[in-house]
């Protein structure tokens, strides 16, 4: 899967879990400040991504993750 296709799949998960319009899901968007995601929604997104991409994301890897781009980087690093 190329990067664009991966990001499309990532976006599908995020739109569904975070209930935000697709155009707000830019790489620079911040989960809390821009997307108004609470901590449980972020956990839900992580679980959805784990299932969609068949990967495991450790709790420690999420430290300091604030933006969509950072989360996407974690996913792509595991594919």
């Amino acid at each position: 899967m190329d990067n664009d296709a991966t990001f499309e799949k990532f976006k599908t998960c995020a739109v569904e879990v975070l209930q935000v319009p697709e155009d707000k899901l830019t790489l620079g968007a911040r989960f809390q400040a821009d997307l108004e995601a609470d901590s449980l929604e972020v956990v839900e997104l992580v679980m959805a991504l784990e299932e969609a991409f068949d990967i495991t994301i450790e709790e420690s890897e999420l430290d300091g993750v604030e933006t969509v781009g950072q989360a996407f980087e974690i996913v792509t690093s595991k594919l």
Binding site: D38, L40, E44, M47
Partner: protein
């Protein structure tokens, strides 16, 4: 029969083969839930309820074994679908005075009564969060706040459920999931009978209502908290103890 008030929702009762768990399973079944029960020592029988109700679905599961909990949920999900109401009833006692307590006896009670509740609840609420609906009912005990000589392990585990439940109630409130605790007093079950008739009489004499509860009287409170009627009740500890724990 699918009761319109429950819409045939799926309930899972741990420790559902006897005592309070079986009574709760029966009551939920009568109220129109599709009910699965986990059991470890005695498979519940019969499984059929009143006319038209869905038979109980028994799943053998030792809640202290993570793999068995996963398998049990897989089986229930395959049979009925995701669990919408969870009742954590599986519990044990292993009484002795603290000075005679061993690490093994301490851990055995904490593993079953507390750690297994964490494990089972975690598995259940993952689906509830997605569904934006859920009911969790934890069965604690009046011993959690009265204390009981010889039951430091049991009392600690049952008191811990209150803190666990209330924290979880806060975590999941935004997802339309309620978490509540029932605190039974003296109930006519095998667990109480094991204390011997003299001790049971002494306990009953301490109860303002002057008698032990039947398991069905606890089941009524559990069924209420699992129902849509309890939609605005969360983080509550509901004593069902004939007045034994009043004031705590």
């Amino acid at each position: 029969m699918s009761d319109p008030s429950t819409g045939g929702r799926v309930a899972l009762v741990t420790g559902g083969s006897r005592g309070i768990g079986l009574a709760a399973a029966r009551r939920l079944q009568a109220n129109g839930f599709r009910v699965a029960v986990t059991w470890r020592t005695d498979e519940p029988k019969p499984l059929e309820g009143a006319d038209g109700s869905v038979p109980l679905f028994p799943v053998r599961c030792d809640v202290t074994v993570p793999a068995e909990v996963d398998e049990a949920f897989d089986a229930v999900e395959a049979h009925f679908g995701p669990v919408e109401a969870l009742v954590c009833c599986a519990g044990i006692t292993d009484d002795t005075l603290l000075l005679r307590m061993t690490d093994e006896r301490w851990s055995r009670v904490l593993d079953t009564n507390l750690t297994a509740v964490y494990r089972v609840t975690k598995r259940a609420v993952a689906r509830m969060v997605r569904a934006r609906y859920g009911r969790v009912v934890l069965v604690s005990s009046v011993i959690a706040y009265l204390g009981s000589a010889g039951q430091t392990n049991y009392a600690a585990s049952k008191a811990a459920l209150i803190g666990f439940g209330r924290s979880l109630a806060r975590e999941l409130a935004g997802r339309n999931i309620t978490v509540n605790v029932v605190a039974p007093g003296v109930v006519a079950t095998d667990m109480i009978a094991a204390l011997g008739s003299e001790r049971v009489s002494a306990l009953e004499s301490m109860v303002p209502l002057g008698r032990a509860a039947s398991p069905d009287e606890i089941a009524g409170a559990i069924a209420f908290l699992a129902s849509d009627d309890a939609s605005y009740v969360s983080g509550a500890v509901l004593p069902v103890d004939g007045g034994l724990g009043m004031g705590h």
